[in-house]
């Protein structure tokens, strides 16, 4: 059973629908007892970092997320879920969970590519260059693209944790991994077949990976 953490940060049903399609039983819940019983945790979310952190603290889920990561349960962060895993987000100057050292930065307003100003948020399909040795990101075609919607991006303190990179005026880290934790800035549940492959890989992963 896959536990999807509900902390009132956007619509979580699309992750559940993608898991249904993959025949993976899942539950969307804010009840940590039920999440304790899950084999894997998915931590999605859209919205603002400040509100997300307030909701997590209010429900006590901040401590449980830290605990699940410490205990070795496979955890997958998605989008805002990925951002709040770090120490700090520039969005609203928000202290975050501190599960992974690093910060979350805003795309500069004057991003340019080939002489044209880039629009923010970064919204649409873009490539991710994955480090090929991680089981959750294994077997993806090199030309695969993923669906992004965000104005802030993760900057892990140690580049060894960056397992995926994307170019949008700046080269930013779009996938991180350390031990039993993986986290992506894009939406695998909305990224067609390559996205479903990542979710499928995650559900089969036992959380082990030689760094």
């Amino acid at each position: 059973m896959i536990g999807i953490v509900d902390y009132r940060a956007g619509n979580l049903t699309s992750v559940a629908r993608a898991l249904d399609y993959l025949n993976e039983p899942s539950v969307i819940t804010q009840d940590f007892h039920r999440l304790d019983g899950a084999s894997h945790i998915i931590f999605p979310g859209v919205g603002a970092a400040g509100q997300a952190m307030a909701n997590l603290r209010q429900g006590g889920l901040d401590h449980h997320l830290q605990r699940w990561v410490q205990e070795g349960k496979p955890v997958l962060g998605i989008c805002l879920g990925t951002q709040v895993i770090f120490d700090h987000s520039d969005e609203g100057d928000t202290p975050c969970l501190g599960i992974l050292p690093g910060t979350v930065r805003r795309f500069p307003a004057d991003l340019e590519s080939e002489g044209r100003r880039l629009k923010i948020p970064h919204m649409g399909w873009n490539r991710v260059v994955f480090r090929q040795d991680h089981p959750v990101f294994a077997g993806l075609p090199e030309t695969a693209e993923f669906y992004f919607v965000h104005a802030f991006y993760p900057a892990p303190a140690d580049e060894r944790w960056a397992v995926g990179w994307t170019d949008y005026g700046v080269r930013f880290c779009s996938a991180v991994a350390r031990g039993n934790l993986v986290a992506v800035q894009f939406h695998p549940e909305k990224s067609g077949r390559p996205g479903l492959a990542i979710l499928d890989n995650f559900c089969r992963w036992e959380g082990t990976h030689a760094q």
Binding site: T13, N126, T143, E145, H187, S191
Partner: protein
């Protein structure tokens, strides 16, 4: 870098896929869920549903369509037509849509854009614009006027002014439809598209007039659109999404090629 998006638009009337010319003479052409799945398989980057029934009865049929689509396709899709309140938006989003679009509703009540953006984030709120060319006047300095109610009622509202205002209110994207070009299959309104796209900081989806891949190439390059809406040319199987994307790739326009 970000790929340009190709987005099939499905007009739905009472749960059936339909297509008209210049907003008139609609005929039913199939099941929207099957069509959405077909386009997903062909490599559509996103799908737009537009509910043209908008009666209370039609709404619940549409919610059911949205739910069935969400179970079968795993790319973003948006739903518009008859969305008047934040609660209408919530229903559509909970049924599985990524985005909602507001058009007539936003012109009549601009606050819905801000309320929607606050509740679900700007990335969820698409401003649909139906635009008609005018001779230019003091009231409509850009030469393009907003029309509402499916193209039936002129508003005197300047299209460029409204696009900027909607961005300020919190719209995350604009779907820009030319009434003059809609359903003609003779090409997008390039000047209009470039005018709006170059004056806002949010993505612009060009709509109305696509008949062949050359039109799409033109609107994504000269028209500066971030995405192109297609309808007749794919619904009638004149062209497939794959074929359109291959055409663009061969001419140096990057779209998502693996799905």
């Amino acid at each position: 870098m970000l790929s340009k998006r190709i987005i099939p638009c499905l007009d739905v009337r009472a749960g059936k896929l339909t297509k008209g010319v210049k907003f008139k003479g609609n005929i039913d052409i199939g099941d929207p869920v099957d069509a959405a799945r077909l386009y997903y398989e062909q490599g559509a980057d996103e799908i737009v549903f537009y509910d043209i029934t908008a009666s209370a009865e039609g709404r619940s049929i549409m919610i059911d369509v949205v739910r069935r689509v969400a179970e079968r396709i795993f790319i973003p899709f948006s739903v518009g037509g008859g969305i008047r309140t934040v609660e209408d938006m919530r229903q559509v989003i909970l049924a599985g849509a990524e985005k909602v679009s507001v058009n007539t509703e936003a012109v009549q009540n601009p606050a819905i854009i801000t309320e929607g953006a606050k509740a679900f984030g700007s990335q969820c709120i698409v401003l649909g614009m139906d635009v008609r060319r005018t001779n230019g006047s003091n009231e409509v300095p850009s030469g393009y006027e907003m029309v509402i109610h499916g193209g039936r009622i002129a508003t005197g509202l300047d299209a460029l002014g409204w696009a900027k205002e909607a961005e300020r209110l919190g719209a995350g994207e604009i779907c820009l439809n030319s009434i003059d070009a809609d359903g003609t299959q003779s090409g997008y309104e390039i000047d209009l598209t470039r005018l709006i796209s170059s004056h806002v900081g949010i993505p612009v989806i060009a709509s109305g007039g696509a008949g062949k891949p050359e039109h799409i190439l033109e609107v994504l390059t000269r028209g500066e659109a971030d995405a192109a809406l297609v309808a007749s040319m794919v619904h009638y199987r004149t062209h497939s999404i794959e074929e359109i994307k291959a055409f663009l790739r061969d001419r140096g326009v990057a779209t998502r090629m693996h799905w």
